[in-house]
Amino acid sequence: MRLIAEALSGERHAETLFEGVSLVLDAGGALVVTGPNGAGKTTLLRILAGLLPAAGGRVSFEEGGEDFPTVAAASHWLGTGNAMKSALSLAENLDFWRAFLGNPLRGVEEALDAVGLGGLGHLPFAILSTGQKRRAAIARLLVSYRPLWLLDEPTSGLDTASETRLAELMAAHRASGGMIVAATHLPLGLDGAQELRMWA
């Protein structure tokens, strides 16, 4: 499996943010996108995910097989929002995503354990703290399989212990042939990752 982007350019509100970004990511690879606020990190990730049209260039996902024909189909998206409903419990939220996303991987309890929220599945999502909500959103990446993780500031709100746990989860994902593209300000502990620096 391989993620390829050729000469991508992105614009936001008719203003060009970046031009000529090319990248190739093989199975097990990771890419860290860094740069100041407003440099277009999120825009780049959204273009990769197919949520925004690229102003120029091309994105493709090769050798994904039947299950993962496009980048969007092959990706987990962890954006600024946690994609969880406040009125539902943690377990109900994850159960839903597990059923809706398909390709089930870990069980809900197991995923909650992996992010350090074991035994809290019955709690309403609304009463969790900011960091716990982020961890719940990370648990969503574990309940269903996608080869590519697109992470936008994955560590926002996380404490040091959770950051370490996330680094371990990402390492395990890469070890099993997964790929990661992360936009971040902080070091994520991704060994041997490519780096793409963007300028405002």
Partner: protein
């Protein structure tokens, strides 16, 4: 898909009490009409079905602005959009519409015979009003979904949706009310307008979600 239906149904029932808001609005609207037009029972019975339809139409538009906006705010919408290779986006929209209809509009249909009593509508008319609302209100939700998708990025899209959607709902209103009258007034037919109403709902079940999916794709 069933998971999405159940999730939205749960949210509709649990969060915010959308169904209750709709019913209270419906009740208020029907309850003030006799004060406005006076206590002439014959007149009330004559305009009753039309008032029921207008009330249900407006009440069912109430919660529509949240149909996609809530998902957009918490980031779920991005993931629903990205899943379009697995689940056809129009189908996702259709399922969301059905869940919204079940949670917010079906209670209005259930309440309509009771509210019809306020308007001195005869029993056959009460049954006909409930039946036509049951068949016709899904069309309003499907049309409304297209409006909600267009207005998803707007901060206060509620009014915008009503303005976009109401003109398109006029045919549904016309055939819904005329079928209801058909059941009460003798020379008027019931079956023909009722079948047209069903056809409108089926037509909108296809057109509405497809239009909404198209609008959501290009919302950014």
């Amino acid at each position: 898909m069933l998971a999405l239906y159940l999730r939205d149904l749960r949210l509709g029932i649990r969060a915010g009490g959308g169904a209750l808001t709709g019913i209270v609005f419906f009740l208020t609207l029907v309850a003030i009409v006799p004060f406005a037009v006076g206590p002439d029972l014959n007149l009330l019975a004559r305009i009753g079905p039309a008032i029921l339809w207008i009330g249900a139409l407006l009440a069912s538009l109430l919660g529509l602005d949240r149909l996609f906006q809530a998902d957009r705010e918490d980031g779920s919408l991005d993931i629903l959009l990205m899943s379009s290779d697995r689940h056809l986006l129009a189908l996702t929209v259709l399922v969301k519409c059905l869940a919204h209809w079940t949670a917010s509009v079906l209670p209005l249909v259930a309440a309509s015979p009771l509210l019809g009593l306020f308007m001195n509508v005869e029993p056959a008319g009460l049954g006909a009003a409930a039946l036509t609302l049951l068949a016709g209100t899904p069309a309003i939700t499907f049309i409304g979904a297209a409006g909600a998708a267009v207005a998803v990025a707007l901060p206060r899209g509620g009014l915008m949706i009503s303005i976009l959607v109401l003109p398109l709902c006029i045919p549904v209103l016309i055939f819904g009310v005329s079928a209801t009258y058909g059941a009460v007034a003798d020379p008027d037919p019931f079956l023909q307008p009722f079948l047209v109403l069903c056809a409108l709902t089926l037509f909108m079940a296809v057109v509405g979600p497809v239009a909404a999916a198209l609008a959501l794709r290009n919302a950014e």
